[in-house]
Structures are given as C-alpha cells and as structure tokens.
Subunit: 466 residues, 2 copies
Amino acid sequence: VPDTTALDELAGLVGPAGVLYPGDGLDAYEDPARGAPGRARAVVRPTTTEQVRTVVGWARRHRTRLLPQGANTGLVGASVPPPDGDGGVVVLSTERMVHGLEIDAANRTAVVPAGVRLSALDDAVAADGLWFPIDLAADPTIGGMAATNTGGARMLRHGDVRRRVLGIEAVLADEGVTVVDDLSVLRKDNTGIDLSSMFIGSSGALGIITRVAVELARRPAQTTCVFLAPTAPDRVMAVLDALDDGLGPLLSAFEVMSAESVAAALAGVDGLRSPFGAPAPPELTILVEAAGPEGTDALLLDAVAVAVATGAATDAVVAPAHDAWRLRHALTDGLRHGGVVLGFDVSVPRSALAAFRSEVRRRAAVELPRATVADFGHWGDGGMHCNLVFPTGAPPSPSEHGLARELVFGTAVERFGGSYSAEHGIGPHNADWWRRVTPPGNQRVVRSLRTLFDPLGVLGHPDLPY
Amino acid sequence: VPDTTALDELAGLVGPAGVLYPGDGLDAYEDPARGAPGRARAVVRPTTTEQVRTVVGWARRHRTRLLPQGANTGLVGASVPPPDGDGGVVVLSTERMVHGLEIDAANRTAVVPAGVRLSALDDAVAADGLWFPIDLAADPTIGGMAATNTGGARMLRHGDVRRRVLGIEAVLADEGVTVVDDLSVLRKDNTGIDLSSMFIGSSGALGIITRVAVELARRPAQTTCVFLAPTAPDRVMAVLDALDDGLGPLLSAFEVMSAESVAAALAGVDGLRSPFGAPAPPELTILVEAAGPEGTDALLLDAVAVAVATGAATDAVVAPAHDAWRLRHALTDGLRHGGVVLGFDVSVPRSALAAFRSEVRRRAAVELPRATVADFGHWGDGGMHCNLVFPTGAPPSPSEHGLARELVFGTAVERFGGSYSAEHGIGPHNADWWRRVTPPGNQRVVRSLRTLFDPLGVLGHPDLPY
C-alpha cells in the first residue's frame, strides 16, 4: 500500500488536480456498472503519454498496482478495484487524456487520445459526415473500447474494434517504461510483427493504451429498420439468408429479442411501443437494419417480402429507426426493472444459436425453475446476451448463481464450442473460466508475455488470471 | 549446416517423401517470384501439426534454421533461402498440409490447413455460394497469406487477411515447442490477450502457422465493372466520393492505373482491349467494381453519372468484369514485357495519393531520367504499386537501383507518412528500411518477442531484421 509520502510524490509528478483521494469522493471510479463497488487508494489522472510514463515509473518504484480505467462502463469488473482489497490499488483514469484529437476527414481516419468518449469522437467527426460505427448501449472511452475490443450491434457490417483500429500507442511497465509507438493511419502497412494488435482486448494487462488510430466510416445516406417475427426459432437463419441475398453488405444489424425481454422492456420502460401492435410479443422479434445509399429502403422491403413469402417470417413492420433502437437498448433496463438479472454475454457459431438457446431453456426449466430465461442478441455474428431473471425480492442464492453460470457458460463453451465472453473481455467476473478452458500452452504464453511487458506485475486488475 | 546424419534423422521423423534434397530438383522452393534464387540444404514437408512440432524439435537440437514457405509467391524474399548463404537453411514447406479442411457453411467459416491454396479454398466452398474474398494476382497458401497479411484489390470492401482471420494454430520454437491453439470459429470471442493476431504479418518469425480459422463471405449475386477517366489526377478522390455516396458498401474495388501501365499491358499481353477504345489510354484509368444484390448495377450507373455530371470524370464505359480484371491483372506482366521493372509496394494516407504520385514523378524525371514511372494501385485504401521501368537491355545499375528505392520509399515514408511495405510484409528486400524507420522502442519489443518465442533463433529467414 503506497504511503502518504508516495502519494505526495505522485501528486508532485502529475500536479495536485491529477490525484484524487478517498475523501474526494471516488464513487464514479469505484462503483461498477455491474457487481459490487471497490476500494481505491487513490485515482491518478494523467493528461499526456509522457505523464503516463511518469506514473508507471512511480508505480514500478513503489511496487503499486495501477488499474487502468476509461469510462468504467465494463461489465466484467476489470475496471474497478477489488471490493475486498487492501485498498492498495491506484486507479489510473484516462478521463483527462482528451486533448489533441487528430482528424483526417479525406483519409477517414482519426488519432484519438485514450480518454475521448465514443460520443465525443462521433460529435467531432459528424460535420464531415463520418462516425466510428460501433453501436453500444454505453458511452465508453476509445481507450477502453480498444482494451476490451467491444463489438456491439453493428459488428455484422462494421466489425469490432480490432477490425477498425489502425494503430496504437501504449506505455509498457518494462524496465525502460517503453512507449510502443505504432500510430499509423495507413490501411495497408505490413511492416512486420504487429504490436498494436496485442493490446486490443488485453484488459489493460500488457500496457496502458494512450492513443488509438482508427478508421472511421461514412454515415449512411439512408437507414431503415423493420421488425420481423420468424415462424419458429429455427427459421431465424433462413430469415437472415433472405436478407443477405437481398441486401448483401447493406444489412447493418440483425438483432433477435425474446418475448420475455421485449415484454419486460414494454412493462418497465416508458414510451415504448409493441413492435407488432399486439400486447403480447411473439416468441422472437427480429430487428433488421439496412443502411446505405438512396434506394436501400426498397431493397430492404423486397428482401423482407421474400422472407415472408418463403414462410420464414410471419409478420413484418417498418419501424422508425429511432424507435426500433430505443426498444432494443431498453431491454437491459426493462429486465432489471422486472427482476434480479444474472447477465451472461456469450457467443456460439451462428449456425448453432437456435440449438444453444433451446438447450439453455430446457436445462434452466429443470435446474433453475425459479428463473426466467430472457435472451437477446446479435444473431448475425453469433453473440447472445443470455439473462436468467429471478423475482424481485427473491434474488438468486449463491448456489443458484453458480448453477446459472455453469449452465450458460458450460452449454456455450463445452456443448457448442462457444465463448464465455463475447464482448466484454476478461475480468474478475469470468477469470475462473479463463483458467478452466484456455489451453495450458496458451496460458503459459500469455503469462510469459505479461512477464515480458510488466515484469514487476504493476499493471491491470490484480484478479486477472494472467 | 546439418550433416547427413542429421538429415537422415529428419527423414526418419517425417518419412522419406517428407524430405527433398538438392539432387531432387529444388527450383520451385529456391526460385522466388522476384529477385535472385536461393540455396537450401533440404526441403522438409510435414503433413500435420504434430509433424511440424517434431521438425521444430529437430531444428532446435541441430541449431538449424527452418524457413517456412507456402506457395513461394512472396515478393520481398522472405520465403526463399539466402542466395549467397552457406546452404545451411532447411525450407519447411507447408505444401503437404492440405488435409482436414473443415467448412461450416451456415456459420460461413472454415478451418484451413496452412498449405491449402487460395484457389483450392474457393473451389471447396463454391458449392455453398461462398468465397474467401481476398483478390490477388497470385495463388498463395492460406498459411502464407496469414504470415504476410495480404490485402489485394478488394480490401476496400472485404478487408485484409487480419480482418478475416478468426483464429490461428501455430507451433513455437520455445523450449516446450508449444502449440498455440486458438482455432475459434467465433466472430465474437473476447477472452483475453489475443495470441492469433501476433502471427499475422510476422513473416513466419514467431512460429509456424499450421492452421487458420477464417470468416468466409457470400458470393455477390451481381458484380459490375466500369472504367472511368478522371478529369485530372487530383480529382480521383472526388470520383471515389461520388461512388461512395451512391454505392456505400456495395463499392468493392477502386483501382487506378496509369497510362504507362495500361499501354504496357495492351502492348505486351495478348487479347486485351483498350478500356475506352482509343489507342492511347488516358493519364489515369479507374476500374470500379460494385458487387451486391440484384439492383447493384443500377446504383453503380447512377453513381457514375454523378461523377461525370460533377466534372470529376470525363468518360465512363461499362466493362465485362472478366475483361476488366484481366486488364488489371495483366499490368505487371505487361510492364515486365516492355522493360526491366523495379517494383515498389507502398502506401500513404489515401488523402495524399495524388500528391505522392506527383512528387515521385517530379523527382524521378530529375534523379532517374532513364526510368519511366508506371504506377497502379488500390486508391481506395491508399496502396500503390510504384514501378520504375528501365529499357530492356539497359537495366538499372546498382546505384540507380539504390536511388530508386530511396526515391520511392523516402517519398512515401518520410514525406507523406506512408509505408515501404503495404502488402508484402518484411523480407530481405526491405529489412534495411525496417531498421531505419521502426521506432527503437518498437524494435526492442519485437526482438524480445522473438527471443521469447524462439530463443535459439531457428525460425524464419536469417536476413529478417528481427
């Protein structure tokens, strides 16, 4: 635990405004979006890459754990200090690293300081008709998005963060406190071993990401949404095929929502409308978005007509894009309003989604009869938010919680070759599964990389499994 | 240099058909697509990942350099043994690693043994209406494509190899000869530090890639090509803007060819037609491809009409896709037929391409008056094949060759923030530039990764800079 002298030294390095103490109110840094709050010794807020180097050097001298934090919107606990820790962890917040955003509109690229929020980046490039097309319900920092490789609802069309990052600048905790300097804004640059890739999805364990070079996209001229009801869960992929045939790359989202999720949103969140008018939503509701040039809407309607004509879907309604996404983004809040939610973010090969869903429901009915399964997800890329909802006032017992994890993760990973963390990365909440299913050889290699980049072990959450 | 006993041991490990000797005729393994032939002590051809492990173990015991080789189509010398070497290098050819291709058509993914050729993969998935949409003039192996992260002419739409790889299996040369096992076919799988990414673009220096999990794409229902003549080189990006507006993601290629390149192809390759009918091609010819659902062709013609109406282009001709690409892929052969070609594969931010081109031509006229500049490239993603052509029978002197490299690479990298290797990776041909422009911190990190994964230095080309 760094003592007062050490913290005074830190304040001397980054300035008095650069360090916050427990007395200053650290809730925003200690309270996670999901899970129990943590406890930090202090929060250090550098403004530049050079200040990050100085802070990392300080952490090495004092053998103090630095926990990198962006907007603290992560869902696996990786950005908050341990709740039962000794208070020795210092949070390194990138929130003041927001100056020096560089935009090349003609090249459609930007070099973004780590602390810039997704919404701020989008605002800065809107006048050029551009955006960073990762769609999320939260508003994370670009550095945090890179550290967790967020995906979101438009990955089908625009890829995840990994596919849009052109380069990264990061500060290592090795002996020289090396700055990895790879901020190219080139789309084609194959000049040897790619260091930037290593930091994407690393949960901050290999280095502190200080700047990110990203490829932007042009905002589409036209965006149109349709709700579809598949005739049965195992016909969802047939609907997707019809849309692929008719839209090709103009298909920009394909989200599937269970009746339980939609009903919870309609009951718990004001101002939403039932997609098909009827009070009870169908077993599954598909939200389709097509985005592209003028004429995209006509192609979408043709494709939807084919899906209905071939018997894959029974009902189709054009919805204003704003309303459609409002419903989609209200699902999580709706479920929380109606019960105690155990949320699991998994993926399987998209060919296996219907079977996975059916197996989870079959097992849950037997093994967790008190829980309701309320799933929704990104069926176009195999991602599913699989929620088990318990009654308000009768939350899951620890043993039910354990059973639920085993049921959902076990079915995804062991039965269908899927992933126990599709979008949220690795943190204390799922570290046990990393240890359990990562091949031993891979574990050894990852740990040796950690030792190479951070030999004293001062970076990242102390409960990461590597 | 491994002696006869060591080679006998090797043959014992992989079987007699698994090792070839100089007397067997090694031209296919020693003659590169560009540059001087090399000399190998032997060629070893394992068939499975387990055999690769055995071979790497052998190389460690005998301190013998193993040079991984796919189809030997690379252009920077990384896949051929040194021409003036001591003959001690053993080529590890993946050509027999072709069994066990796994296709999941509904998931649109495949797990591909490293030695499978691009054309063979495309043939295997054609019946399902799928392809691996990286367009190249050569027919490399999938393992080689991953090791060099090839891009090609449709990168604008489909990304480079890095953006399409879901996972990799690779054999390290560390003490345990670890197999990194990361062959997920999941699109969303953010479970910690991503080992697969490290091998992409590594030129085989970190490990031998044995299998690659890739995301396939649906073949488009419609593919339409148009030739356009921009009113001036600095209006090319205005043409691209008009096409982006009208096509969005349906724009699948945007290739720009100089008059010198087109004229050389028309003169040197049989059966080609001049894009605009006239015998002399315009200063620049743009090849546009749009690919997508039925109706894509109409959107393309509308967008082309806008490009012409706004004065960005003077002429536009619809071309059969086959003919259009035949011309495009004939440029290299045409140039070789008409002279001695020094070819450089560079990139700059796409906003700077016209200025880069103009500066190269200005300097070449002064510094290399015997050379003709004949460029063509992927303007949509900033890539350019910048060729300096000398008269047949009067090839460039070594000093002219050096001047040409300095002119093209120096202008790209130092003047425009570009890359000296856009698509071909790192090899003996450009190792000096890696040493020259890679930041010293990055160089140290790359070398420490090499030491971690291959502590005895037995993997990769001996003249790699790391």
